[in-house]
């Protein structure tokens, strides 16, 4: 009895307080919107935007792991999303030809999403291994080139539709599925960031030479971080494919990556909270601006196109870099996203 108590004292509880708060918060968020849609009180268009914004949370936080926490500069993130989307959609739509209902097809869909993530991670590993030895800005060009190569390769494979893309993908990505995947991605990324891997990545970002001198295997950790980031990009891509039910190579082009990049850098490098806020905020801002510009177009005598949205975002990006280089929430986190053990470290300034 006494021995059991000492074990009890040392045992780390399965759910710590903040994890519990995060879980409850997510469940409440899910429950509110789920009930609203169930009773038809929620505009389906805005529901779709919420789904898209949550997928962008996955894409942005995973890119932040690469660009923000490990200080690399990847601009081919949507290329990995394309690998995930194509792998998973090829399996569900072309190979298995699943119906969009039923438990069996649904579990196959979950499997396909995870396989999509693994495929993206594998490609990320292949790209990262040779290039992460090089200096940061070369990685930018290689990842950019990789995004183009993916497009060219997919265009030339007739089995996955070539430039026509894959239409008629079953709509498996429900709100519930997306919330669960987003929650899990954020938790896993947070745990990685506060693990020894995360510390190694941060040390590489701060000073690569110094961290190598204290024994951090820099290439190993950079490739690891890159692969994990690519994995979650693949997951995000797979979910996106099963939400919008149609994919083609152009959707995953350079411009799509830029969109995610803007979210990362405006939200803040090295801040998961910033990425979450920016992903949701910018998705909604973008849709709001679309409506606003349409209204403005009707009022003004000359044409005001939706292109002005991207003008606004580019000005925001440059202004962020000029006046607040680390982004809105650079290196800051919401308290629920910091493990409780970290408080001690923060107190001692570690």
């Amino acid at each position: 009895m006494k021995a059991k108590e000492t074990v009890q004292d040392k045992k780390i509880p399965l759910f710590k307080k903040r994890d519990f708060q995060l879980l409850v918060g997510t469940v409440i968020f899910w429950a509110i919107f789920y009930t609203l849609t169930k009773f038809g009180m929620m505009n389906l268009y805005w529901m779709h935007i919420i789904n898209v914004s949550l997928i962008y949370v996955i894409l942005t936080t995973s890119l932040n792991l690469i660009n923000g926490f490990s200080g690399q500069f990847s601009i081919g993130h949507m290329g990995f999303a394309a690998v995930g989307a194509y792998t998973s959609a090829t399996l569900t739509t072309i190979v298995w030809n699943l119906p969009s209902h039923g438990v069996g097809p649904f579990s196959l869909f979950i499997l396909s999403v995870i396989l999509g993530g693994i495929a993206a991670a594998f490609i990320g590993f292949l790209i990262g291994l040779p290039t992460l030895r090089l200096r940061g800005d070369y990685l930018a060009i290689v990842t950019l080139a990789f995004g183009e190569i993916i497009r060219v390769v997919i265009n030339s494979i007739n089995f996955v539709g070539g430039p026509r893309g894959i239409p008629g993908i079953p709509r498996f990505s429900s709100f519930t599925v997306i919330v669960i995947f987003t929650f899990l991605s954020v938790i896993v990324l947070r745990n990685i960031i506060y693990s020894s891997i995360g510390r190694a990545l941060l040390s590489i970002r701060e000073d690569e030479v110094a961290s190598e001198l204290v024994g951090v295997h820099t290439t190993y950790y950079k490739v690891l971080g890159f692969t994990v980031g690519a994995f979650f990009a693949g997951i995000g891509g797979a979910l996106l494919a099963h939400l919008i039910q149609y994919i083609n190579p152009l959707q995953f082009g350079f411009m799509a990556t830029i969109y995610v990049l803007i979210m990362v850098y405006i939200g803040g490098v090295g801040s998961l909270s910033g990425s979450i806020v920016a992903a949701i905020g910018i998705t909604f801002l973008s849709e709001g601006l679309r409506l606003g510009l349409d209204k403005l177009d009707q009022v003004t005598p000359f044409h005001v196109g939706p292109e002005w949205r991207m003008v606004i975002f580019s000005v925001l990006l440059v202004a962020t870099m000029l006046y607040k280089t680390n982004g809105l929430m650079g290196d800051m986190e919401f308290k629920v996203l910091i493990p409780e053990e970290e408080d001690e470290n923060a107190k001692h300034g570690a």
Partner: protein
Amino acid sequence: MGSIFNLQQIINGIQIGSIYALISIGYTLVYGIIQLINFAHGDFYMVGAYAAYFAVMFSAARKEHPNVLIVLLISMTAGAIVAFLSNRIAYRPLRYKPRLSALITAIGVSMFLEYTSSAIPAIGPSYRAFPQSALIPEHTYKIGHAILSNYQIVNMSVAVVLMVVLTYIVQYTRIGMAMRASAQDKDAARLMGIDIEYIIDFTFIIGGALAGAAGLLTGITYPRINPYMGIIPGLKAFIAAVLGGIGSVPGAMLGSYILGFSEVFGMAINSILGEGIAYAILILVLIFLPQGLLGKKTGEKV
């Protein structure tokens, strides 16, 4: 069906190579001095093409015959002004911040130029036909089985002349010497009394002017322009600069022609996969020859 290595392909290769060369020189000059991959460089080229387009349209509307040299000067000036302004507004304040911030800003500037152009009603997002026949009437010459148009001759010769002028500036003038000194060691150059910011401005202006000229030449030979036309040629010109050894002007020229030829022959073999050959070259170069063909091998300073 003859061999793919025929005269026509060689002409096409030289022509594409010339355009890449004009763009990649700007990349390599800027990278040599401030180690910035200026993603917006391809958009300076787009601005040059549109400036030429409007110049030709303007004189056509006034029923005048536009002078090629004046149009060339206009597009070079437009490219130079945009390059100068983007340096002053976006890159200069970040000179002593981490290099990555300038890189992200460059992406922002590039997006700004593209989307502003497509949002302004006078330019618009759709393709426009470049009025090349209003500028120069077309003549074609037959050499064996190959067809050479006077557009291609103008294209190649203007590119060669500009490259000669540039080489003269960089190698034989005082400001060229200052540019080379700044590329070698910025701090030492400053101690020798060189105004670094002035040199950087000048570098951007030269790079922007060459990119603007490339925009006009592209408009003449491939008469289809749109606000996003700079992205892919910009990227490929950068690849050419890396292939030749970034920081080296002769390297950029050599790399551009090699890239031009490989693309033309690659496309002749397989039109879809040929599109990706530039990227394959880039990855191979970065793995096996990171310093490029003519670049200097540098160790990392601690």
